[in-house]
């Protein structure tokens, strides 16, 4: 049997197929389609709302995490720079203090009004520095105090050097 050869429909079969009834679907189908579409649109808008909510939340979380990471990255460098500045100002201050002692100008400074004022100012700054360490104040604040101390010591050295050059006035 060659099944791929077209077997014609008999006339009776063709006539019979022509009598197939044409029916209409019930009206409920369209109503049901409308209802399903409304439900689907509702679900879709819910999905969109949930999508935007979760996206916004995820973005917020990401921004928070990235900011935290960035701050974390920035802080050690900043702290390190501040610590270095503090270390530098402390060293400078100590060197100037050694230099002042080496000049051996204490009696001369003590004798003058400016010298006494400078020594009082130095004592006041030292108290402030001690207080700052007790209060665990930031490095930047300590650096400022150490710089003030260095500046004062530098002035005292200049003052002492000038006195040494004029021994007759002591």
């Amino acid at each position: 049997m060659t099944q791929n050869t077209e077997l014609p429909l008999s006339r009776s079969a063709r006539e019979l197929l022509d009598t197939l009834p044409v029916q209409r679907p019930s009206a409920d189908v369209w109503a049901s389609i409308q209802q399903s579409r409304l439900a689907e649109e509702g679900k879709r808008s819910d999905r969109y709302r949930r999508y935007w909510q979760s996206t916004s939340l995820a973005a917020l979380l990401l921004i928070t995490l990235m900011s935290g990471y960035w701050i974390g990255q920035q802080r050690p460098a900043s702290m390190s720079a501040e610590a270095m500045a503090l270390q530098q100002s402390m060293t400078e201050s100590r060197l100037l203090e050694q230099q002042l002692r080496a000049l051996n100008v204490a009696p001369a400074l003590h004798a003058s009004h400016q010298g006494r004022h400078a020594r009082q100012e130095l004592a006041r700054i030292d108290v402030q520095i001690n207080q700052a360490y007790i209060e665990s104040r930031p490095d930047a604040a300590l650096t400022t105090l150490w710089q003030q101390r260095s500046q004062l010591l530098s002035n005292m050295i200049q003052q002492g050097q000038r006195r040494n050059l004029q021994p007759e006035r002591i």
Partner: protein, 198 residues
């Protein structure tokens, strides 16, 4: 509300319209609710009849129609007009129908067929009434296998070509030709068997 009369039937020779005006199609593809409703008005009858003949079950056919139009409406914006809208809808419908028929067990809709047509010829072929006056196309189609019936309907009633049918079944053209051959032969024999003169 869509006009309907489930009992009304007209001869198949009075072909139902499947042409949808281009302007209506354009409006429908843009989501115009009135145009979509108009598309349904025109195409629901041919779609329902095709589904009804394929499934031999009115309820199932309505379910297929429902699912088909849900898909069609959701994807109307993708329709580019390369083929008539009916051909596009029909393809969705046939695919939906084939999937539904795979899922449904055979006896379920044979029972329903009895309710629908008030006969026992399908569920109980032994008691088949040989009275020619009661012989009708739906009854005979119901005696073909799902596959044979579907191919016969698509080819001889819907005018689809073998390549188109083969594509719908994801088979070769030979498959479509072979099934059609068997379907026609079986139908011719069934008619002869019902004819009192034979």
């Amino acid at each position: 509300m869509k006009a309907s009369d489930s009992t009304a039937s007209t001869p198949a020779s009075m072909r139902y319209p499947t042409f949808v005006d281009e302007l209506v199609v354009k409006r429908a593809t843009r989501g115009d609710a009135a145009a979509i409703s108009q598309v349904y008005d025109i195409l629901s009858t041919p779609a329902f009849n095709l589904a009804n003949r394929m499934t031999m079950n009115r309820q199932l056919a309505e379910d297929v129609l429902h699912d088909t139009f849900i898909k069609v409406i959701a994807n109307l914006h993708k329709y580019r007009g390369q083929v008539p809208l009916w051909a596009w809808v029909r393809q969705v419908l046939v695919n939906t129908c084939l999937n539904v028929m795979k899922k449904e067990s055979r006896h379920q809709y044979h029972d329903s067929l009895i309710d629908e047509f008030g006969r026992e010829t399908i569920a109980d072929p032994v008691n088949h009434d040989h009275d020619h006056a009661r012989l009708d196309a739906m009854t005979l189609l119901g005696q073909l296998s799902e596959k044979s019936r579907t191919v016969l309907i698509l080819h001889d009633l819907e005018g689809l070509t073998h390549p188109e049918i083969a594509a719908m079944f994801e088979q070769t053209e030979s498959f479509s030709k072979s099934v059609l051959f068997r379907a026609r032969k079986q139908l011719n024999e069934l008619i002869k068997g019902h004819d009192p003169e034979h």
